[in-house]
């Protein structure tokens, strides 16, 4: 018998069922070229999830590697459904490769919902949701939730060209939807940030995700707005700060941003997803992925 190196794959271990919820794929739609909206029957996650939170794909996956983290792009609590918006290829390819190849009826297992989502102040009536590129997957659920709670919501989306614009049929009719394209092929010609100024005074709160450049400019804008309106910065406030006052200040923050959870354990132990927080390193998986603008340290602060 020829000698071959052992691959180390002696799989006697039964797959672990104590982690993650078993979910089944209800619908797989290619909403844009190479981009899929996958709708899953996941009653437990749908019941608990908040906009901005993410899930870990426990199965299918390759052994020995980290679990792919995917933001929940939409949910229907009553029907027990969650949806994920995935790009096939380029970034997140590993995550997408396992899921976008599945067909309706296929099973998977998700751990979640994970992280802290966006928090809407009870007094807020007018919500502005801003995203560019892949950021839409992080904030898409905000639009659903805002409409369901009877708030007025405007979604500003910036993409490179018309073929990347999320179809308006994927958004509730009650939401206002404004698009900016870099090449001017649809809507505003330029950056989505140019549109924010028009809505800034109208909005009670703003929720955003996307490129670093977008978030940094929004943060600058939010700081300017707070200064004009005499809002004290979270971290500059004097006096004792308890967890309760921090949470309240976070909920009231005009701008909250969701950061991508690129890699890590989501248990809070690996410290791999850490970002620069105002009070030191902040874990995206635990303290985030949604942060109030003053919870983070921006390039302008350094």
């Amino acid at each position: 018998m020829p000698l071959r190196p052992t691959t180390g794959r002696l799989a006697t271990s039964a797959p672990n069922r104590s982690r993650g919820e078993e979910v089944s794929l209800l619908e797989r739609r290619e909403v844009l070229p190479g981009r899929y909206l996958l709708t899953w029957a996941a009653p437990d996650i749908a019941r608990r999830v908040q906009p901005g939170q993410f899930i870990h794909v426990v199965a299918p996956r390759r052994p020995g590697l980290l679990l792919p983290a995917i933001p929940v792009a939409g949910f229907d609590r009553a029907a027990g459904r969650v949806s994920l918006l995935l790009a096939d290829g380029a970034d997140g390819a590993a995550a997408a490769a396992g899921l976008t190849a599945l067909r309706a009826g296929d099973e998977a297992a998700f751990e979640g919902p994970l992280g802290r989502g966006f928090e809407v102040d009870a007094r807020s009536r007018f919500l502005l949701v801003v995203a560019d590129g892949e950021g839409i997957a992080h904030v898409r659920a905000c639009v659903d939730e805002a409409v369901a709670s009877g708030r007025q919501v405007t979604l500003l989306l910036g993409v490179a060209k018309v073929s990347q614009v999320l179809p308006s049929s994927l958004l509730p009719d009650e939401a206002e939807y404004v698009v900016a394209t870099t090449d001017g092929s649809l809507g505003h010609h330029g950056s989505v940030i140019d549109l924010v100024a028009r809505y800034e005074a109208w909005a009670d709160q703003c929720f955003a995700a996307g490129s670093e450049a977008l978030l940094a400019r929004l943060a600058g804008l939010a700081r300017g707005r707070d200064a004009r309106m005499g809002v004290a910065r979270l971290r500059r406030k004097r006096g004792r700060r308890t967890e309760a006052t921090k949470a309240a200040a976070r909920r009231r923050a005009w701008l909250q941003v969701a950061l991508p959870h690129d890699a890590g354990c989501a248990l809070g132990v690996c410290l791999g997803c850490v970002t620069d927080g105002a009070d030191g390193p902040a874990r995206v998986c635990r303290e985030g992925p949604a942060f109030a603008v003053d919870e983070l340290r921006w390039a302008a602060d350094r």
């Binding site: 180390g8 354990c265 410290l271 390193p281």
Partner: protein
């Protein structure tokens, strides 16, 4: 059936099965123990603790690569006093042995850390991390130099009676020389390997992806390197060797044991599945029962040149 990871310490670090959680795989242990129930690892090695608080490296700190994980945490921890204040009560309640990993820039740091842990009643052992690298502060890990590694081990040994595991880096010209030196200096066990220095580029290929440029590579990609180092050092030292690097299935555990390891440690795979170390440990015990092996020592080292011809029982693999 149990394994003694520190035979020189009269059973102070005796474990139920040979699958540990290596440093980095479970934080300070409590986060993992909260969720795994009774599917427990043999022991948990905590993330490395330093004398003073360290902020860690700037993000991004982790890149998930096709066959491995590149990470650069930079020893982020709140410092020894804060760790003990926050964790010691929970360690006391743990049924799983807790081995605290320590890392220092100087021999004095290491001695102070080991002395402080010696006073703690609920710690099962100390792992001296000679592969720790804080790129902002030190040029190279202590384990890169035989003499430095030896002095550091002597310092830790002199400060504590607890079982002492010494963790070695793999990126050295001769791991055997370092292993021999630390074993002679009083290490009760040696663990290897630590993640390998590596690099990933950002998407636009204009810069390195990680905030510190370099990171440590772990996961399935490094398993052959881990096997090589374990194979080498287990032939030159008489203390137990804990094999670490790319373990995610029972076959990986057996590979390391055959290459000379007495036990194995998992970190990267435990991040994705915290139940896995405990499950693989139980699987291994079942596997042994099924193959008529009643002493785990029988498993260790059957691929080593000196022992290959002793007529092992495991022809049926």
């Amino acid at each position: 059936m149990s394994i003694d990871l520190a035979p020189g310490r009269s059973g102070a670090l005796r474990v139920r099965h040979p699958v540990l959680v290596a440093a980095g795989g479970a934080g300070y242990g409590n986060e993992l123990l909260e969720i795994v129930g009774d599917q427990t690892p043999a022991a948990i090695v905590t993330r490395s603790v330093t004398r003073d608080a360290r902020p860690g490296n700037r993000p991004p700190r982790m890149a998930a690569l096709p066959d491995g994980l590149l990470s650069s945490i930079g020893l982020q921890n709140p410092g020894l006093d804060a760790v003990l204040r926050r964790q010691s009560v929970r360690w006391a309640a743990s049924t799983v042995p807790i081995v605290v990993s320590i890392c220092g820039d100087t021999v004095e740091d290491i001695a102070a850390l080991a002395r402080a842990l010696e006073m703690q009643p609920d710690i099962a052992g100390i792992e001296l991390n000679l592969a720790g690298r804080d790129r902002g502060r030190t040029a190279a890990p202590m384990g890169h130099d035989v003499a430095t590694a030896e002095v550091a081990t002597v310092a830790a040994r002199a400060a504590t009676e607890l079982p002492l595991i010494v963790k070695l880096p793999a990126d050295v010209p001769d791991a055997r020389a370092v292993a021999r030196a630390v074993a002679a200096a009083g290490a009760d066990a040696i663990s290897a390997i630590a993640p390998l220095p590596a690099l990933a580029l950002a998407h636009d290929r204009r810069r390195a992806y990680l905030g510190t440029a370099y990171g440590g590579l772990s996961g399935p990609a490094v398993k052959p390197v881990g096997l090589r180092v374990v194979y080498e050092i287990s032939q030159v030292v008489h203390v137990p060797v804990i094999g670490i690097g790319g373990i995610s299935a029972l076959g990986d555990v057996l590979d390391y044991l055959d290459a000379g390891a007495t036990a194995v440690g998992m970190a990267t795979a435990a991040l994705a599945d915290p139940f896995l170390p405990g499950r693989l440990g139980d699987d291994l015990l079942d596997w042994c029962a099924g193959h008529g092996i009643d002493d785990l020592r029988e498993l260790s080292g059957s691929a080593l040149p000196a022992r290959r011809d002793r007529g092992r029982r495991r022809r049926d693999r």
